[in-house]
């Protein structure tokens, strides 16, 4: 007999119970489900839920249950047939009031999900989903920045009353030709301060003194990075509108963004919300001319352009002069007007946008201002373009709102005269449109699990068979102790599943590779201990002493080999990305669970079975 503290029993029991509890939701699998949300991200409430459930009940459509989750209603179904019927009914009955998305949801009982127990997630490679690759027009971002710089340059010169002959924009720089050389120094000084991160250098030319204003290399890089970052954020916001769990929005290289939405089966809505590569512009409405006549003549008057109203498709003329762009808008949300409580959209602009708006509204109270949305899509050579075509790009413009300016305002204003749905939709459109730079969808598609359903099934079967053979071998080779090892291995897998569920890790194919390695190492730990026990027995030691010595002596080998592998796991996690990271997460967590189960769990179990007897003749090992 050797001393064996009682707390070990408690520790093992508590960890096991917790592990089983946390891993439990994984047993249930997935139900087909629908996510019903408001398109403007305002939370659904019990009334909304009742309404949706009411529609299903009225048409006698079956469903498993419904509940509110993260501001949307989640409906679970018993079959995919139920799911598709319900989807058709809901989209027909609620029109655009709700967005209905196909989804999978855990089939675990409600109470389990309610207390926060969730199954682990499977990655795109195992589960399928939607993948989009966007290309950000970083050169375009630089062009836009240069255009803005040109405006700042003009303003700076006007403010200092420096006369100039010409201001010309070249792709990445602005060239200023002054009237005379007298004010060259003053001009240089003023232009350097015209914007952050610009340099101004003088050159001489035949036409007179020339100053070249351009961004420093750092500023160029910063702007391109900024454009990419801004787009990642915008895409992330849009993905949140979809309410997809475990989305991946990732920069890829210098100018690409990868969006992966595991489990999404219906790309249409995703394409609608994500694929809208929209930019916004505020223009004044040209009220002096008749839009209907312009449409008939197919010619817009000078200084105006012909556009169409969203929804009604009626023609409208807007002035070409740009007031504010979507990149100057910081927020837009639907709410109520303070005056009369009618639906309204609150818009906030940044400083530059605010002062431009102030200047414009001072001059134009009582006139109408339009919000123009510009959709840019990349198209194939053989595809139709309803708007204007330039190379592989199709640009479509439409006016999403035209409202009368009621008073002078700057960076905060509201748009009224809308219905409730219109307000929330406009807010969504405005927010979604605040893109810094046009992005183009370069690849998209609903994808089946890339490993393929049949292949995944084969792989899982092979893994299960391999494990069964290992268990059989352990049982035959180490008899009673082998059975203990098998129990310990099983609990190791349960604990690993528990940790993966707890940390909401995403299991991918490389993750399964990590699992194989971990199980291998857990088996190894047991083999190390048992071989050491056998060695001690061969030396003629008593069974109890052999067990004790076996665990003690195997400890350093197990600890050192696991720590070595743990180092590899942690480094891979810290540096690696994507699939390498998925491998590292499972490996790291798996080493922790296998250390616990092999060193503490298995010893406790062995002590429980053989350690407490006073006299044992032979050990079943």
């Amino acid at each position: 007999m050797y001393h064996f503290p009682a707390w070990r029993y408690w520790l093992v029991a508590i960890v096991l119970v917790l592990g089983v509890f946390l891993a439990l939701p994984n047993v249930f699998g997935l139900d087909p489900a629908l996510q019903v949300a408001r398109p403007d991200r305002t939370a659904m409430d019990a009334t909304g839920e009742q309404r949706i459930v009411g529609i299903l009940k009225a048409q006698n459509l079956g469903y498993k249950d419904s509940h509110l989750e993260d501001g949307h209603v989640l409906l679970r179904f018993l079959s995919e047939e139920q799911q598709s019927k319900a989807r058709a009914a809901l989209t027909a009955d609620t029109k655009d009031e709700f967005s209905v998305a196909l989804a999978d949801a855990s089939a675990a009982p409600r109470w389990m999900l309610a207390v926060g127990l969730k199954p682990m997630n499977f990655g795109l490679d195992l589960r399928g989903g939607v993948r989009f690759v966007y290309e950000v027009d970083v050169q375009g971002a630089l062009r836009q920045a240069t255009d803005r710089l040109e405006r700042s340059v003009r303003t700076a010169l006007r403010d200092k009353r420096i006369p100039y002959a010409a201001v010309a924009t070249e792709p990445t720089r602005v060239k200023v030709t002054l009237r005379s050389g007298e004010q060259l120094d003053a001009a240089l000084e003023a232009l350097k301060k015209s914007e952050d991160g610009v340099t101004a250098t003088s050159e001489s030319s035949d036409a007179g003194p020339v100053i070249v204003v351009q961004f420093t290399p750092d500023a160029v890089k910063q702007r391109q990075e900024g454009a990419l970052e801004q787009n990642v954020i915008t895409l992330r916001n849009r993905v949140n509108e979809l309410g997809v769990s475990e989305p991946i929005i990732q920069r890829q290289g210098r100018d690409r963004i990868l969006v992966e939405l595991p489990g999404v089966k219906d790309p249409n809505q995703a394409v609608r919300v994500l694929g809208a590569t929209t930019t916004l512009e505020w223009h004044m409405v040209d009220e002096a001319n008749d839009p209907i006549e312009a449409e008939r003549n197919k010619r817009a008057p000078l200084g105006s352009k012909l556009s169409k109203m969203r929804g009604t498709n009626s023609p409208i003329l807007v002035k070409r002069e740009l007031i504010v762009t979507g990149s100057q808008m910081t927020n837009a949300f639907s709410g109520q007007s303070n005056n009369n409580g009618l639906p309204a959209v609150n818009v906030t602009l940044n400083g530059a946008g605010g002062s431009a708006m102030l200047k414009n509204t001072q001059a134009n109270v009582g006139k109408r201002m339009a919000v123009l949305s510009i959709d840019k899509t990349r198209i194939q050579p053989d595809e139709q373009c309803k708007g204007v075509r330039t190379d592989n790009w199709c640009t479509q413009e439409q006016v999403i709102s035209a409202a009368t300016i009621q008073g002078v305002f700057g960076d905060r204003f509201i748009i009224t005269g809308l219905g409730l749905n219109e307000a929330s939709e406009l807010a969504l459109l405005l927010r979604a449109g605040s893109l810094e730079t046009p992005i183009a969808l370069v690849a998209s598609g609903v994808i089946e699990a890339s490993a393929g359903k049949d292949n995944i099934q084969k792989g899982v079967n092979a893994l299960v068979l391999g494990m069964a053979l290992t268990f059989l071998f352990m049982g035959v080779y180490y008899r009673g102790f082998g059975m203990v090892a098998n129990l310990v291995l099983l609990s190791n897998i349960v604990l690993l599943a528990a940790l993966l569920s707890l940390f909401k890790a995403v299991l991918t194919l490389p993750g399964i590779a990590g699992l194989v390695l971990t199980v291998g190492m857990a088996v190894d730990a047991n083999i190390l201990i048992y071989e050491r026990i056998r060695e001690e027995l061969r030396l003629g030691n008593s069974p109890q002493a052999s067990i004790n010595a076996g665990f003690e002596k195997a400890f350093s080998a197990i600890a050192d080999s696991n720590v070595t592998t743990l180092i590899a796991g942690v480094v891979l996690f810290a540096i690696g990305s994507g699939s390498i990271r998925g491998f590292a997460v499972v490996l790291t967590l798996g080493i922790m669970t296998s250390l616990f189960t092999a060193l503490i769990g298995s010893r406790t179990l062995i002590h429980l079975i053989w350690g407490r007897r006073r006299k044992i003749e032979r050990l079943p090992i």
Binding site: A513, A557, A559, D560, A568, I580
Partner: protein, 312 residues
């Protein structure tokens, strides 16, 4: 049941020149193979041509795969879309435009056996999934890992043993790369993950042997270093063989029954486990021995600082 009832006494260190020759030849051959024959890199690494296929009726992915495979297009990434009415097929790019047109034509002919009204959309060039930055990350991660492990083993054991372990850990992936080059099995992302897994296994094996070496240097004070290492390798031999055998069992089942996606992964693991077991028996200890490992290297640390042993 017991395979190793008596502790074996194979003179591993005595014959180490033979094993050096074997390993050396394998490494040199592998490096030459990779340089001159190259790896058959998967689409993950090379990028390729993506073609959209439109079917006139829902067509299951197995049929599409089978039809393309019958036409000799085994190395594809297939993703079904739109309720099996369309699919995206990724193929490695052909060398020139004429080759590409020929590939498209072959694909069309193959797919027409499944659906006579099938349509192919114009193919688009796709970049590699494992871009340059990811590859650089991977190499950096590998170097960092090896360095940290070297430090850890130097700290827990001894620096010559650390070098031996790193040598064994590098030995295995090089031979796996050689194997992939020789067989021209597609080397894809999952094969890369398998290589990482093998490094993990190999280190694990090596550390277990080294743990015994450390013990034996303390208990066999007057023995020659070669004998000490030999006894350690022999004492852990039963464990090494049984663990490797058990793991190999799982991996071979995966190789035979696991389906095409896991093929390169399980092939890399199978070779890796065999080579890894070999390297931890024959290479790691021998390398440490020839770097001049003696009892003195392990003694003082162990004696002066007993606290170290208490560390995990």
């Amino acid at each position: 049941m017991e395979f190793f009832h008596k502790v074996s006494a194979f003179p591993f260190m005595h014959t180490r020149r033979v094993w050096y020759a074997v390993s050396g030849t394998a490494i040199v051959a592998s490096i030459l193979l990779v340089i001159f024959r190259g790896l058959n890199l998967g689409i993950d690494f090379t990028g390729g041509i993506e073609t959209e296929i439109r079917f006139s009726q829902p067509t299951p992915s197995e049929k599409v795969r089978a039809a393309l495979s019958a036409a000799g297009m085994n190395e594809i990434q297939l993703q079904m879309a739109g309720g099996e009415r369309s699919a995206n097929v990724r193929l490695k790019s052909a060398k020139d435009a004429a080759g590409e047109a020929k590939l498209s034509q072959q694909m069309l002919t193959a797919l027409q056996t499944v659906d006579p009204k099938v349509e192919l959309r114009s193919p688009t060039e796709q970049g590699p999934q494992v871009g340059k930055d990811l590859r650089d990350d991977g190499i950096l991660a590998m170097l960092m890992t090896l360095l940290l492990i070297l430090i850890y083993i130097a700290f827990r054991f001894e620096k010559k043993m650390g070098a031996g372990a790193i040598f064994a850990a590098l030995h295995d992936p090089i031979i796996i790369f050689g194997f992939f080059s020789a067989t021209q099995i597609t080397f894809d992302l999952s094969a890369l993950v398998a290589v990482l897994t093998v490094i993990g296994y190999s280190l694990n094996d090596t550390v277990v042997v080294f743990d015994r070496v450390r013990d034996n240097f303390l208990s066999m004070r007057n023995a020659k270093p070669a004998d000490v290492i030999d006894s350690a390798v022999n004492q852990t031999l039963s464990r090494t063989v049984i663990t490797s055998g058990a793991t190999l069992l799982v991996v071979v089942v995966l190789l035979i029954l696991g389906g095409s996606t896991l093929q390169s992964f399980s092939a890399a693991l199978t070779v890796g486990i065999i080579v890894g077991t070999y390297s931890s028996i024959y290479v790691a200890g021998a390398a440490a021995l020839d770097l001049g490992l003696t009892a003195r290297d392990l003694m003082p640390v162990q004696k002066n600082d007993p606290e170290l042993d208490a560390l995990p």
